[in-house]
Each structure stands twice: as structure tokens, then as C-alpha cells.
């Protein structure tokens, strides 16, 4: 009986609401209705603007040239020990090692 009564109550409640809208809505119901209608285009606008304002997620510049390593967060080969920034010493060592690949120089 109780269950039936509850379900009856729900049915009558929603029916009453519908009847209110159909017959002549109260001010409160009308306000809710208009608020819903007004919110919809606003939400659509917010979503559209958020979609257009996508954040850049990747670096766009191409990393060529002498300063590319800085942008990439790297250091030069001679910046740490044992060269400690001495580019001339590094170049000398590398070139000397490269020249030693020439056996015509070694056997002379």
C-alpha cells in the first residue's frame, strides 16, 4: 500500500508539474525554463572558445645552427671536464685524433 501510495504520489507530482506548464506556468517554473534556454547558447559559446584556444604543446621552431643545442637543453662537448669550456683544446685533441687515422702520417 505504501509503495503504491508513493508511486501514485510521484505520478501525480509530475502530472501536476505538466499541468502547471500546460495551463499557465507559475513564475518559478517559468524562470527555470528560461534559465535553461539562456544557458544552452552560453555553454556552446564557452566550449567553442575553449576549442579554438588550444595551447601549443610542441616546439615549432626547427633546431638548426650553432645555438640549437641551447634550445634543446644540451651543452657543448667541451663545456665539462676535462676541457671545462676550452674549445681550442677540445678541437686540437679531436683533430689530432682524426689525423692519427691516417697511416701515411703514422709510418712516416
Amino acid at each position: 500500500m505504501t509503495k503504491r501510495g508513493q508511486s501514485n504520489f510521484q505520478v501525480t507530482d509530475s502530472a501536476a508539474r505538466m499541468s502547471v506548464c500546460a495551463d499557465g506556468p507559475s513564475t518559478r517554473a517559468l524562470r527555470k525554463y528560461y534559465r535553461k534556454i539562456a544557458l544552452t547558447p552560453f555553454l556552446v559559446l564557452v566550449l567553442a572558445v575553449a576549442g579554438c584556444g588550444e595551447n601549443q604543446q610542441a616546439r615549432q621552431e626547427r633546431l638548426y645552427g650553432a645555438n640549437a643545442y641551447r634550445v634543446a637543453g644540451d651543452t657543448t662537448a667541451w663545456s665539462n671536464a676535462p676541457f671545462n669550456g676550452d674549445v681550442d683544446a677540445w678541437t686540437h685533441d679531436i683533430d689530432e685524433r682524426a689525423r692519427n687515422q691516417n697511416e701515411y702520417r703514422r709510418i712516416r
Binding site: Q60, Y69, A72, R97, Q101, R105
Partner: protein, 195 residues
């Protein structure tokens, strides 16, 4: 910094590929360097050791959508594995097929790109454990050349500054009876950026 493979000397021993794998602890399925033989089995066959050629105007840098590939002042092309998305564009752009992709799981799923670093590591702290794990040894920061070239028994594979390599090749060409027409890197393209 350049690689130069003297095809008259390369004997297809693959020591360069082994040296690279051993020095950088390159995983299975990745070959940063390999030896390609043309006209194999025929008279006058030629072998050439191929890896990333560290191009001056590297096409992999141009096509990378996340700009993870960059050039160092000495002309080595490196990449950042933390930024790489493993898309494979660099593989299609590279004329040498240098970029490699480890198979991380079944059905050919690709991992982060891996390629020859000219034994120069990556953007991590030089000679650190993190750098070694991701990119291998940083011999350049130690004042050494890539091991593949330094290990080459016939000295077919050379590494170093373009002008120095041109000098070596000029000496060889003269010794072989050729005329001295090799201009050298500096004459053709100007001095290296770090000089």
C-alpha cells in the same frame, strides 16, 4: 664533424657495427650502423659502412613534428628521447634509413627513435648515467672520436673534422695514383661552425 667511408678499403667485416653496439649497449633489433655491400659476390663488389651522416641541412630536423632533433655547434645531429613521440617521420625523410625504432610490443608498435649519436650522447648531463642509458657513450665530450671509426682495422671508416678527413683522403688518392683534385671541406663549404 663527418663520417667518411673509403669504399676501396672497406672489407665488410662489420667491426664498426659491433663496436657501436658494444660501446653504446644498443638493444637487440637496433642497428645504428650497418655495412651495405653492392654487387655482392661479383668481381669488384663494394662495401660501405652506413649510419646517420649528420647532415648539414638534416631533413629529419625539418620533418620532426615535435622538434626533438637538433644540431650541435660541431655539426652533430642529436635528438631528445623525452620529447620524441616515435611517429617515424624522420625515418621516411632520412636518405640513409638511419633512424631506428625499437619494437616495444607485439603488432609492430614502435618505441622512441634511436640513431647514431656520433658517440656524443644527448641533452642529458654529459657522461651521466641517464645519458648513457638513453643514448650511449659520450666519447666526444671525452675528446675522442666515435668508436666505429677508431676501431676500423683497415681505416676505411674515418671520423672527424671535414677538412682533416679531406686531407687524409687527398693523401690516399695521391698514393693510389690519382691526381690532387680534392678541394677539401673548408674550400667547398667554409669552416666548421665551432671554429
Amino acid at each position: 664533424m663527418r663520417f667518411l667511408c673509403d669504399v676501396e678499403r672497406c672489407i665488410d667485416c662489420n667491426a664498426c657495427a659491433v663496436a657501436c653496439k658494444n660501446e653504446n649497449e644498443v638493444p637487440w633489433g637496433i642497428n645504428r650502423r650497418r655495412v651495405v655491400t653492392l654487387n655482392q659476390g661479383e668481381a669488384g663488389e663494394k662495401s660501405v659502412s652506413v649510419a646517420c651522416m649528420h647532415c648539414t641541412d638534416a631533413p629529419c630536423i625539418a620533418v620532426c613534428p615535435v622538434s626533438c632533433i637538433y644540431q650541435t655547434p660541431e655539426g652533430v645531429v642529436l635528438h631528445n628521447k623525452d620529447v620524441c613521440i616515435g611517429c617515424g617521420y624522420c625515418f621516411y625523410a632520412c636518405p640513409f634509413g638511419a633512424p631506428q625504432f625499437p619494437q616495444t610490443s607485439a603488432f609492430g608498435v614502435r618505441g622512441k627513435m634511436d640513431k647514431c649519436t656520433y658517440c656524443a650522447g644527448g641533452p642529458e648531463q654529459d657522461m651521466s648515467e641517464a645519458e648513457f642509458k638513453k643514448y650511449g657513450r659520450n666519447r666526444l665530450a671525452e675528446g675522442k672520436l666515435p668508436l666505429c671509426a677508431e676501431m676500423c682495422s683497415t681505416k676505411a671508416l674515418l671520423a672527424g673534422d671535414g677538412d682533416v678527413l679531406a686531407d687524409i683522403m687527398r693523401t690516399r688518392a695521391t698514393a693510389r695514383g690519382g691526381n690532387n683534385e680534392l678541394w677539401g671541406w673548408g674550400t667547398a663549404y667554409g669552416p666548421a661552425p665551432h671554429k
